[in-house]
Symmetry: C6
Subunit: 246 residues, 6 copies
């Protein structure tokens, strides 16, 4: 039995893990604030559409969709166009939380409710038949649920639904420092693997690097690889390694 791989299309990444993620699994992308998690997640979705013809869903709990569209235009990604083509759905899980109206097509009710998010994903699936999804980020959901045990169960519901809907997904997770791999200590329990993004100082300069920390069923790289955010998005230097202290 050979397991099916879903390539991220992020330059340099897939060759670190036997060609990509496992089909129908959920993975955690952890990193401190500003480490590149949102870019990584969106690039995975955009590549899915543009390179592999797989529609994608992006659930945004932190950045308002309009900001996402603006920020990602600098990488040459025209999200609005992809949305118009019914290849991309951005779920606005931010605006209504604060009692303000949202112009978005897909909005998530207030306060956070797993059931309604799941219903909405099912509806979207009917419309666009997505194969990939990203939830950015689990951390703000964690803040609203607070109890780690309950948070774990809710994430488990979401990840299982995604798997059942035939989605290969990324969950982002904002950690406070690089000493742990998840914020609330439970996010890695509902996912099949963990990718950690580092943004560390080397003398007076910040350096970005990345590690596949865990990936079930995969003989992945065990090294830490530098990456850059270029004007085309993330580029991983898979042949290079980071030797300095993380």
């Amino acid at each position: 039995m050979v397991l099916e791989r879903v390539p991220t299309g992020i330059p340099g990444f897939d060759e670190l893990c036997e060609g990509g993620l496992l089909r129908d699994r959920t993975y955690l992308v952890s990193g401190t604030s500003g480490s590149g998690k949102t870019i990584f997640a969106m690039q995975y979705i955009v590549n899915g559409i543009q390179m592999f013809n797989e529609p994608g869903i992006f659930v945004a709990t932190e950045e308002r969709p309009q900001h996402l569209r603006e920020h990602f235009s600098v990488f040459g990604w025209d999200l609005e166009k992809l949305e118009d083509e019914n290849m991309l759905a951005i779920v606005d899980a931010t605006s209504t939380k604060i009692g303000l109206p949202s112009d978005e097509k897909y909005i998530d009710v207030r306060p956070f409710d797993t059931r309604s998010l799941i219903d909405q994903m099912i509806t979207i699936q009917d419309e666009i038949g997505a194969r990939r999804a990203a939830l950015d980020s689990t951390t703000s959901i964690g803040f609203s649920i607070q109890d780690p045990a309950k948070f774990r169960v809710e994430l488990l519901k979401i990840s299982t639904t995604m798997e059942i809907l035939g989605l290969t997904s990324l969950f982002t997770c904002e950690i406070v420092d690089s000493s742990g791999i998840s914020r609330f200590g439970v996010e890695n329990f509902v996912t099949e693997g963990t990718i950690v993004l580092y943004y560390t100082r080397s003398e007076n300069v910040r350096v970005r690097s990345l590690e596949i920390f865990k990936m079930r069923g995969s003989n992945h790289s065990k090294k830490i690889h530098p990456f850059e955010i270029t004007d085309k998005g993330i580029v991983v230097h898979s042949r290079e390694e980071v030797y300095s202290e993380i």
Copy 2:
């Protein structure tokens, strides 16, 4: 699509981030006590008025407006004059908290109430049509709300209102040491970027430096740059770098 930049006018700073902040976003200015957060925030507002003709709002939750006026006179900034010209509004969110009368024009009721602050900002907008705002500091609001999850939601309401009112804003945040980038671990979740001010010891002398830790949609400097507080306010040495341990 080219994103509009709002220059801070702080010498040496804007060239670290493609010309300034993104229009209609909110940024976090974090630092330990005495690191220069209040000066940074006020200089951004004053420069907006004097250099770019953009009126500004300064919400003071810690220092009484009269003290602000006195302290900043040493930098040659005549806040009273700017207020008289209807270019600057200082919201006194300190005085009434302690049951004492305030002579200020704009006062915020007691205890802290997001709704009333938002109403007041809408009123002020009618009067002066501000383009910039500063909230100094989020930390005392955090103390009065206490629950981090609730604090995050209230900050989210304020920042979203500011963005909707067309304000490009700075939120200050007082951290206890430089190991984290926010006090309650949630402030960076409602902002589009984080600027960290350091005040660290190098042998027996304190040195000031600054880092753009995160700025969405921006190819900012990844270095740590020294700055000084001169008799004209903050001056960033954008060409120099700090090599020592932070």
Copy 3:
């Protein structure tokens, strides 16, 4: 009196502990996320069946049985076949937790209930007469019980039941870092020994190693031995030692 040993069959491991585990005892396998606990536990069960003709039970609280079957096929282990032969029972203690149907033969009800798990194990024993068991992992049970003192009592019930049913068992435990040997500080109180799996950085590469930290009644190796995950599963280098900092 010579104590009976149960060999794990994991290459290189049994010679570290006088030939294997003690019959009818429960042992803890601790390690951080991705350290190889699930592989270790399943290899112990599979070897029991294939090398020693001892049927086994695998209680899965984290990975869905179907994923386990897929992931372990890469090591050439055909779990489905072993299940069909009535030599292996996989208890699905994951699916129903989230309100979704399970196709599995052995499912555990929701929410976690020690009594029902114990009943199910008794039923399975009637059917397959197992001699080995693995519970992967105790940690998700700990999350749902939360109170460490109560968690300890529930684990004690399970381990004692297993011993009474004539099962020699492994409990896995996911720790956050390698400074402790259990997650909730109580798991090692219900087991007769602790095996710790390390996944640590040596310069820019992760290295796997293993230590028998405690094994009652056994004169075990006191060293730390490197191991690898090969295409046949775990191989311990019992003659080699790890000198670097753990």
Copy 4:
């Protein structure tokens, strides 16, 4: 506008901060147990009376006034005489707390009550027209209030009252180690600056030193200066610096 300075009269100190404290502000004097906070505060008050003819109020929450009088006699300060001359008022905020009678003129009721302390200060002002005050220490008030958010508000009331009464004040704060600058993390939020007293080991000997950590509106020294407790009280060596690790 030139801001008025209030000299402490402590040898070597005022030259570190443009001549002294700012008139009508409150400052924090932080330090570990035994670092010299009480001596610093009392010397500021005594100097005010003897060198600048400014009457002073000393609120003692920890040491009984009679002990203060005895301890400070070794520095040649005759507190009783200054009290008789109506230049000094010592508020006994310790005795009644424990249900014992106090012979003191100014006593604070039990348990700690901000309102009554404020009333008392207003009364004292009528009698002696003080210009300086010291509250030694905020920490025991913090213990009785416990909730940091509430403690902050109470301190804010006291400091604002003092400023309105025309008092330039010092608040002492006992920290546990020198890693933070306040005990409950809020004391520095109600004050205009922080002076930290260090009592650290250099080999087998304790050394005293001092730093002006923050002083709003002031271009203060950024160095750490050694000081001694002599038979005339504190003497700061403003020209010397401490290079060793704090």
Copy 5:
């Protein structure tokens, strides 16, 4: 007055403390999991019977008596025989806790109840007239009581009862790392001394060592001595010392 000493009979130990423990006192044996606490405690009891003709009581809260009998047979100790001779009583304080039947003669009811344990010890004293006792371990009692202050009082009751019954006793305590000397911070308050067992890494090998940390009324060794677990039990190398970092 010369204080009466109770020799443990553990090779090399008694010479470290003027000949042994003080008669009718209780001592704490602390150590991490696997450090040898249970072996130390049982060897003290077995030696009491075989070398000094003093009957002993062993209260087992963690390991089932049957396991104890099996594990200790490897050291040549025939516990069953000693029990038959009415020289040893093993109190099973584990089995009933989890609702399973116990075949043991002396069982302790569920949940843990100090009063009933005390009653049982009084009964046993009638039957065997013990002079030594061991409670292995206090830590599981701590888990069931939880509140440290209450735990301290219960331990105090047990230790005082033991002293009044004329028993010289050892209490074991499982600590998480070697930075403290007790688990809940109170165990050392009910005992007259503390013996710490270390199980530390020296390069890639674990080394065992032991320190008499405190022994009231005794001029004990202040060094750390290595020990081994041989096929005859613990042997302390009283003339050797451990120099490396613990």
Copy 6:
């Protein structure tokens, strides 16, 4: 005004602090378990009686009086004789706490009650007219009160009563490690000074040393001095210093 000094009579100690403690004050003696606090406190009381003819009270909350008498006989101190001569009163604040009868003359009721302890001290004062007292230790009182703020108030009541009764006192405090100077962070707030006893490792041997950390109104030694526990009790080497890391 020259402050009256109360010599401890402990060889080498008084010369470190201008001749002794200040009359009618309370001092804290802090140290880890086994550091020598109880011996220090009892030696101070015994010396008071034998060298300065000052009767003393010893409040024992941890060690039973009979044990104290036995342990201290090795230093040649005949406590029973001193009690018979009405020069020493030992208050048994341990026995009754656990529901067991006490033969002691002075017993403290259960549970700990400040009022009753104070009453008892007043009664004892009538009988023996003590000038010195020791409370060994504050820590077990802290455990029973638990709330640090309440604990502080109770200690304040006891210390103030002692001062009013004309007693110069020592309070002992058991700290967990040498990084703080008190256990609950409040004990030093009710005392006039702190003496810290260290019991630290230098290579493989424990070394005892002592520091006067704070002593109000005193120009004390600022060094760390080694001490020994000899067969006559504590002897401080006041001319020697400890250079190694504490």
